[in-house]
Amino acid sequence: MNRNEGSAPVATTHTPSTASAPAMTSRPRGAGTGTTFTRWLGIVTLASMAAVALFGLVLSPEDVVQGESVRILYVHVGTVWVAYLAFVVTAVSSAAYLWRRTHSLTWDRIAGASAEIGVLFMAVTLLTGSLWGRLSWGTFWVWDARVTTTAFLFITYVGYLAVRGLGGSHEQRARRSAVVALLAVIEIPLVHFSVKLWRSVHQDASVAGRTTDVTLDGLMLFTLLLATVAFTLLYVWYVLHRQRVMTMEDALDDKGLDLALAERRREAATNGVSNGAPSATGEVTN
């Protein structure tokens, strides 16, 4: 916010660029959000997504009871895992922003980017869950414990994103949303254990954390783990880019502020010369 990049930034940037006119069409170095790392990450992500499609749709077997519809499992569980991860990252980044020693707007932007991607993935979870519910339960929607708590978690983070859009300075946005993020993350265990806490139509977890009693066929389990890794890579890829875009947006916002201030200053200077004296005398006569 307090960056003062010279009094007339528009004039200085324009002169050298006219000399190298062809360079204007190609992207200036460092202007995009891609780096060597994210490009490689992108390639690995796309390759693993292709592998998920291959294993999920072709190589993995049908289920004895559910038949083909079991294939939804890989997207449904893979995306909800990423959504949980994203919301936890949002909470940790928000805490890092609020903590004095690590206080930085970068944490706030990571939190925001992560929440956006999390909401996106959770929307996919709800959508695939609804389709799967139609196929196996016989209904698109059930107001049971798991589905209801998941819906609540989803709209909580839609609310979080809305809070980020309320305006004010970057610091205000960061502080408000960090508090919301730290409160919202508490819902995750509630959603995860809802199938244990309350009676639910939804099945229990097949790959539970502590008990090693996995109730999944071997190749199905492999496909599910592959999907989880692929969606996680996709999440990291998206968040890195989104976070960089947000940095640019904030910089643009600050730049806009600087320009507006410079304009007002110029306005004030000209007003001071021409209108300053008459208005002072006007006050005296009144």
């Binding site: 010279g6 009094s7 077997p61 049908e62 289920d63 004895v64 009871v65 559910q66 038949g67 519809s69 079991v70 499992l73 139609r134 196929l135 196996s136 339960w137 016989g138 209904t139 059930v142 107001w143 049971d144 414990a145 589905v147 209801t148 708590t149 819906a151 609540f152 709209i155 909580t156 839609v158 609310g159 809305a162 809070v163 980020r164 859009g165 309320l166 305006g167 004010g168 300075s169 309350w198 009676r199 639910s200 139509v201 099945q203 229990d204 977890a205 097949s206 109730t215 999944l216 066929d217 190749l219 199905m220 916002d253 502020l257 507006a260 201030l261 007002r264 200053r265 306005e267 004030a268």
Partner: protein
């Protein structure tokens, strides 16, 4: 070079974010409304989504006179369909209950030996349902030719 500090400016601070505040407020209002709906649904339905067969008439909220959601396993060999009506028996904890479902195809993966939740009311000792949800287990097993015999006796899988 202009080194004047900003604080001495007479002009008011310029507006930030170019007045795009109202869509966020609209979303927040929708989120709050949605949250109220979801919490209401949660308290009225999600906490005790169903009564088990053996709890009917015994547990609070499972009185036989009211509309219920009853959970039990479809008994092997009990399913008989004719036209729009499917008759079957659900069983849980050793208590069984005859069910008449008269809303067409039960849907989902409805079959013998799977646990189901039936929505409906009692009429003359028979539970008449108009909605069925099929619970499926969290067990997934590959279907292949070698194991077709196993697939036919799904009751063993559920046990």
């Amino acid at each position: 070079m202009d080194l004047t500090p900003r604080t001495d400016e007479v002009a008011p601070p310029p507006p930030r974010r170019r007045g795009k505040r109202w869509p966020a407020i609209a979303v927040l209002v929708l989120v709050l409304a949605g949250g109220v709906v979801i919490v209401t649904q949660f308290l009225s339905s999600a906490i005790d989504y169903y009564c088990n067969v053996d709890e009917v008439g015994a547990k609070d909220g499972c009185e036989a006179g009211r509309r219920l959601r009853i959970q039990g396993n479809v008994v092997e060999g009990s399913v008989a369909s004719e036209g729009n009506v499917t008759n079957f028996v659900v069983e849980f904890n050793g208590v069984s209950l005859p069910v008449r479902y008269d809303a067409g195809d039960p849907g989902g993966i409805f079959q013998e030996c799977v646990p189901v939740v039936v929505h409906g009311r009692f009429t003359d000792g028979v539970f008449v349902g108009d909605e069925i949800e099929v619970k499926h287990s969290n067990e997934y097993e590959a279907q292949n030719a070698d194991r077709l015999d196993q697939a036919l006796t799904a009751c063993q899988l559920e046990a």
